[in-house]
Symmetry: C3
Subunit: 379 residues, 3 copies
């Protein structure tokens, strides 16, 4: 093992965007539906996929099974250990000092940030999902002409809660990024709120989606944006982050914007990070779904022109704690391999490589979110 | 040679999408125009390209020439052997047990599926191209308000012909995929047919192209869709398969959809295959045009998140039997190399790698098209 | 070192698209703002980027510093040597026999083509930027109904100037390529000129941008088109060269079209070069910004299906002569590595590899621009 892999293995990571793990024992079907972005399909094992292979290879040993254990053995052992022990093993194996947890999506019963932190022996912070917040406001009843004010107040209150370090938007899912970039007027918001309240359903009005992006600007906290890869609810080509360019021009000098996931548009995201001071990116979610076999390749593209202070680590793990672990492992292995090869080819000095590893794995996130140095990681 | 390459070399493939080979001796100019998607250009040898280099390297030895034989020698030897012998050599070298032949595009005189099968010592099935079928209906005369019924009846008859296993659409060429995804009404189809009959030319009306996609849904057979790379008749960005997402939502639970070629949008296709149960993909055509030097890289991206039951092999060979061979060779070499490296890195077990090779090379297609096990391949 | 690297090291290149180097000593801040496409950001060193690492690794030794010298040492040494000596060292290190210089963008005081040639011991030709020419016409005063005639006359005069070998358009920056491909009528141009003259500012009217593309067709010289990567003034997705397809159909058989940069759309550009006789491409700018660590990967994609007579070398260096050197170095190293590996795998013969190196590094450009063989490079 090379010195960079050793350094990354020893470095406690900041996972700047993830979700909780399910707090219940999962049936085979439930586990299958959480293992892929496509859900469970009759007659096809979700383990017959890059992520399934990666779980059998890298997660089975943490359940005391051999590498590449059969899927049935894996599920049986997972059940036998029980969810608390499974979560504890994977979350602590991630060697992550900080998790920033998006608490706005919870179709399952999930660990709270505190529970996640406790199981991992780490610290947790919270990320407020703006669409969920606006939907909660509407669920409680609001008049159209009060919508902007009430949402703004609720958002302001939400981010003042201790431990909140960022807000997040899933505009990519609701309308995509081919939006009018301008801040909507009060009259436009009122009219759009009237339409939404009349129609019901989830927030998907283009004016109101834009309004939340501008609400984020007013809040002043870093804004996480889902881009690229997700489940079938997305239109991938509308989640190309390059579509955000006009909006990024208008919001220059305001809040940091963190492009999450990005795959397969990691080069487009890298371009934005290279030319806009406020833009950062990660390739979370993509790493564990491609597995270690391709994580390096995805990271190579993400880093092709990205300034080294602009890449962060996230797992975007949801539901199964395997992914909190696997995301960290893919990041460490992929980044170490690419940096070590550059050092070996004398394209990069070893001290520079070690700085890049520490920045991207931990310090970029610490600086961006203003995180205190946890006691466990002071060094 | 590693065990995976050996296994793939021994595995008879299913080439689930190809065309016939020309049944005539080709002049140098004719051969040139078939060798690339750009046709023949004065003063530039079509051999000075990745596909040309691959033909000289991997096809010359089958014509009893040395590797990397000069283009002139290659053409002379090809002429001396005659088209029947040339076709026989390359088609049998492909070690393909089944060819699914798109018979709807034939500007040259081509082998029929039976002739192709005979020359290869294989079995052939037929794929019905829907645009060609609709154009034949119109050529025979039809009233606008009868168009939908007559096309539906003709399609129903065509797919009941023995040996037909799939239908195909070249919507990508005619309108691209940025279409209204909804099934057109009868009145819309009649009105569009009226416009087309008045104007003439090939089928390129957006309503009628959509109508054929929905006709495919009614037929119940797997639907092959050209996506990505092709000749200059395509608008590449309109052939991005991600544009099909809304239509895939509407047609969920109906017919399997096979995304052909995909390059350079293989990651977008992989996303669709990962989240839609009915979606499959191949990287045919791209493999022999990039040659073995890049086939592995293209396959790596295609497999980045694709479930292993969702990738198929096709050559998309047209005209020159070199491509039936080269497509198979690029698939076998590219896939073997990537799987072997994963086994060597202990990212994948050898039994898993062998299963993936057999699935993608043969069994996924067998299962999807309901192909019987040919005698020659029973194992 | 392999024979292909040796051959490329010995081959004087043609850099078919670049700019001048600044003729002044640069402050640390000025240098920073020229080092990246994002400019200088407070608190972040522009050296902490792929291009910054590449400069410290490959440019420092030419300033008598050790490889990977610290940024502060690099800047101090650069200042101590003075701009004339710095330019001389890097420009001559590029071992480039011909520079084709875009003289239409000069926010700094830059070397003229002759000065650049002199410092490099090379020959320089000129590329006329059409938008700058039209803006100069308007700055001198013109009536709307005279605009087309005066711009055409000025362009005709400009390209008759000795040493002019091509024209260039930055349509990608002004409107993007999602344009009506047809030649605008005289009335349309007059009306658009009226709008522009009334509004002022830079040329960004879609009709006038199209008019310049068609003016290039009339001029008969090769047309260089910025595509893909650039600074924050671009909308990356509007600079995808695939958007040019309809226009390329209409202009078939007229002038050669050179797609510059292309990243991250190098595969889309390769598709166009493979199917349109008049289309060529390079991956200039992208190579030095990714650095040698990724230049090979970008070249691999650019060459995936590109005919070998269609790839050219450019640095697109602007401002700092480091980039004229680094662009050449990245091209030589990246291309040599990929060709050598193909030779080693017996996918390519050594004579073929050497031909491809000479074509892409020099002869494709010589042929396309009709360049005489410089004395220094006659061989």
């Amino acid at each position: 093992m090379g010195p960079i892999q050793e350094a990354l293995d020893a470095l406690p990571l900041v996972d700047h965007h993830c979700h909780g793990a399910v707090t219940a024992d999962l049936s085979a079907g439930d586990f299958a539906s959480l293992l892929t972005e496509g859900g469970a399909w009759p007659g096809v094992s979700p383990f017959d996929s890059p992520v399934g292979v990666a779980v059998r290879r890298h997660c089975a040993p943490l359940l005391d099974l051999p590498r590449h254990a059969p899927a049935a053995d894996y599920l049986a052992r997972r059940s036998a250990l029980g969810w608390r022990e499974v979560n504890r093993r994977f979350l602590s194996a991630a060697r992550t000092e900080v998790f920033c947890v998006d608490t706005g999506y919870a179709p399952h019963s999930l660990t709270s940030p505190d529970e996640l932190a406790h199981a991992a022996g780490a610290t947790a912070y919270e990320v407020v999902r703006l669409e969920a917040l606006a939907e909660a406001v509407v669920a409680q009843g609001v008049e159209p002409d009060e919508y902007a004010r009430v949402v703004g107040a609720a958002a302001g209150e939400a981010v003042r809660k201790p431990g909140v370090v960022a807000v997040k938007s899933v505009a990519a899912y609701r309308t995509g990024f081919d939006l009018n970039p301008a801040r909507p007027t009060d009259a436009e918001v009122t009219e759009a709120a009237r339409r939404w309240l009349a129609r019901g359903g989830r927030l998907a009005d283009p004016v109101l989606v834009r309004h939340l992006l501008w609400t984020a600007v007013d809040l002043g906290l870093p804004l996480q944006l889902h881009t690229g890869f997700g489940d079938d609810d997305i239109r991938l080509h509308h989640a190309d982050p390059a579509l955000l360019t006009d909006w990024l021009h208008l919001t220059r000098g305001t809040v940091p914007v963190l492009l999450l996931h990005c795959w397969p548009y990691q080069r487009q995201a890298a371009y934005l990070a290279a030319v806009f001071e406020q833009v950062y990116l990660d390739v979370g979610l993509a790493l564990h779904h491609t597995g270690p076999a391709r994580s390096r390749a995805v990271l190579e593209e993400a880093l092709e022109i990205t300034p080294f202070r602009k890449l962060l680590h996230s797992s975007d793990a949801y539901g199964v704690a395997e992914f909190h672990h696997l995301g960290a492992l893919c990041f460490r292995q992929g980044l170490a391999a690419l940096l070590q090869d550059r050092v070996d080819a004398d394209e990069l000095s070893l001290p520079d490589a070690l700085r890049i590893a520490t920045w991207t794995g931990r310090d970029n996130a610490r600086r961006l979110y203003g995180l205190p140095t946890p006691d466990s990681a002071r060094d």
